[in-house]
Amino acid sequence: MTNTVGEFAKAKLLFCIGTNMTEAHPVAATYLKNGVNTGTKLIVVDPRRQELADYADIFAQLRVGSDIAFLNGIMNVLIREDLYDKRFVEEHCENFDALAAKVAEYPPERAAEISGVPEQTIIDIARMLGTIKPAMVIYTLGITEHNTGKRNVMSLANLQMLLGNMGVEGGGVNPMRGQNNVQGACDMGAMPNMYCGYQKVDNPELNGKFAKFWGVDSLPDKPGLKIAEIVNGLPSGKVKAFWIFGENLVATEPDIKHVSHCLNSAEFLVVQDIFQNETTPFADVILPSAAWCEDEGTFTNTERRVSRVRKIKEAPGEAKPNWWIFKETAKRFGHDWPSDSGQELWDNEISVLCPAFAGIKFARMDAIGGIQWPCPSEDHPGTPILHKDGKFSRGKGNFQAIDWIPDAEQPDEEYPLVLSTGRRLVHYHSRTQTGRAIGFNERMPEECADISVEDAQALGIADGETIRVKSRRGEVAIKANVSKRMPKGMVWMSFHFRDTNANHLLSGDVKTFDPDTLTPSYKACAVKIEKIEKQVV
């Protein structure tokens, strides 16, 4: 996020798109509601009439995967009606003409036709954005989990630059990060092209800096494979040895059959985790790790705030801290790593190697709590808001002319509905944790497929009845939840339960992924639903 969660309560206008915040980020949603109760205006854009829509001044129920057309339509109106921030665009942005030419192709009539949002609603939203400033743009995986994910994000950046809503309190582009430490995993360089602190592996100077610091002659300078490429490289033998740390890939990656096949073809597979799960049976070696509360370290939240995580107990049996496992492995290759605790790793390596984290140290966090990066020195208070006064890290903000293209997998005659997937309030991912905490299964003992009243009526499906959801990959039998919040033509499921896991249905074909980030289309998969006829005994 460029800004902070607390600003939701004070902002003038919030533009929430593709975020099921009340379930996925509940505490953030409490600030949003505080704002709405004290005068903040709210625009909600989502295929589902989800809880946030109840609080919205304007709710736009757009079709799955039409985001770019819809956003281009809004920008069309902003430019046409002269409602954008000319000064900001002139002083801080480049490539405006290309953007203007592109969005000129998306008058609100056309945007309405593609997105299903009424033309007048698109115009009203543009006018609200044009007159109430600043506005915060907030989004989640509803934006990124498409084959157009990266382009969706760039469109939102276009919108905020056009409105001059960057670098100010109550503005910015704000992705709500899903998992507790997704931000941290990126920050730490668990990415094929960057070291920790967003330092590129193919930059000779940085490559040299890391090699020197780690005490080796050279480091690979070609960006590596992304997760989907690694997994898909297993059957062909392109990748032979695979190490999975803490991710239940079989349950959380799309197309369970396909992922299982890939993992099964690994020549050597290491799985490092706290519980046995759907992925561990494929392992050659399973390494037991310390869990939350069993080690000292840090998490980085969606606001770039690095906060302490503390230990209260020993790991059970012989389970070990994860960093210890990596350190011990390095030792077997003749490397003796100096750091011997979370604190030593952070204070003596990470914060030394990364200018953005240089001023963040354990002692400081212990004294004052979490600190938001960039924090270049120990007397720097941290940075709640990025790009202050229109200063972008690469000089000027660059507008991108972006065309709408449909989601890779389109509904057709055989599979006429669109399945989107996500998380529900009381569970988390494959439930390896909430499934083991008392009370959570009781609140939600099984998964259901949310379907619209119209589709249910057309097929004669009653609320609570078990139905079949089928895709080109597979099928699951699951209870129907007939909901007024669902639009016709859409099915919504989570991936919390083993047998009814929506990932049985999703496509694992990289052609349906975002071509740049290789993020799977978790939000758009063609399916059909069927009534299960009772057998007469």
Partner: protein, 365 residues
């Protein structure tokens, strides 16, 4: 409202405060404690309990500190004999209907009512002689997360305001009138069928034992536990939690009141989702696959191994692959749930030791 600081005298001490502050806020900001039951710094004041009555010079009546704005030159006494007498009366009235079973109460030792009675020297309510008027509501403990004992409720309304403001719902409210008043979901609805999302914010706000965490029952007294601050393990909001820990067991979890970004707020996962770490099906030893045939099969078994054996095997197999097929033939996925230091170490292992940039994480799920 002016913008210059307001100066006043509390208990003989000159204080300054921000304009617009109430007497309560000004006192707190200056380290002076005014007793109260219904006041909570994160919530709007309601002036419901009358425990915070203070004497202000030139005012014939006592004033509630939590709702009275501090004005320039006020001379306030928080513990004058008149204020203490009034406070004592209020607390004694509450104790008429409050069961005195502190022995078994989960809130024993962290109860504002108990502390107040102690401070005011009240042993029992003088009115009780005329026959106990304690209520006899059934315990509401059908939900898995917290217990509601309306017999202990002092009707301070903190839970209602916490639900409204800190959790953004309006699941509970004052129901019925007069001596029958209770805090409940709308009449006729069970909590499980109400708008309640079981965030437990009301439980954290309750000053007495009317709302308590179910999993904490019998797990330990406040003075037996230590408080460890940490960060929630579930979503990217990164809420700050106070773990109340006895030995190596978490007794209960509360939101850190001054922690950012959540300022005391938590959701159901952060507050009640901690006990997976005690699950008895944790993996506790390294395991090595024993193949039945040449290829991997679901019938294969795993045998326990020492760390040395397991890591020797991992290292030799990775070394073999790298030597034969080059460093691009290995790959790794790091964990987006684990601490930064773990992800840093894993990418360091891949880059520095294996010489491969094939390292990624599940940013998307």
């Amino acid at each position: 409202m002016g913008t210059s600081p307001v100066t006043a005298i509390i208990n003989g001490k000159t204080i300054t405060a921000q304009p617009g502050m109430t007497i309560m806020q000004a006192a707190q900001a200056n380290g002076i404690k005014i007793p109260s039951l219904c006041f909570h710094p994160a919530l709007a004041s309601s002036g419901a309990c009358r425990v915070c009555l203070v004497e202000v010079e030139k005012n014939p009546k006592l004033l509630p500190a939590c709702t009275t704005p501090l004005t320039e030159g006020m001379v306030i006494s928080t513990h004058s004999s008149k204020a203490v007498a009034a406070r004592k009366f209020v607390v004694e009235m509450i104790l008429i209907r409050h069961p005195l079973d502190c022995f078994s109460c989960e809130s024993n030792g962290r109860c504002d009512l108990q502390d107040l009675a102690y401070e005011l020297g009240i042993e029992k309510s003088p009115f009780q002689e005329k026959g106990s008027v304690c209520t006899d509501y059934a315990l509401d403990d059908t939900n898995p997360f917290y217990i509601r004992d309306m017999n202990k409720c002092v009707l301070c309304g903190r839970c209602v305001r916490a639900c409204d403001w800190q959790s953004g719902y309006h699941a509970i409210d004052f129901q019925f009138r007069g001596i029958k008043t209770t805090i409940n979901p709308p009449v006729g609805r069970k909590l499980e069928e109400s708008d309640c999302v079981f965030c437990g914010q009301c439980v954290q706000a309750c000053p007495v034992g009317a709302l308590t965490e179910k999993k904490a029952v019998g797990q330990g007294r406040p003075w037996q536990s230590r408080t460890v601050r940490t960060t929630c393990a579930y979503c990217g909001v990164g809420c700050q939690l106070d773990l109340h820990v006895k030995g190596d067991k978490i007794v209960r979890v509360t939101g850190t009141e001054d922690g950012m970004p959540n300022k005391g707020r938590l959701c159901v996962k952060g507050r009640f989702g901690y006990d997976f770490i005690y699950s008895d099906d944790r993996i506790t030893r390294p395991l090595i696959r024993v193949r039945k045939g040449e290829h991997k099969s679901p019938d294969d078994e795993f045998r326990e191994a020492s760390w040395d054996e397991a890591l020797d095997l991992v290292s030799s197999r990775f070394r073999e692959v790298i030597e034969k097929h080059g460093p691009d033939a290995v790959g790794g996925v790091s964990c987006a749930r684990s601490i930064n230091e773990d992800s840093y170490s894993m990418q360091k292992l891949f880059r520095m030791v294996f010489k491969s940039n094939n390292i990624d994480h599940c940013a998307r799920v």
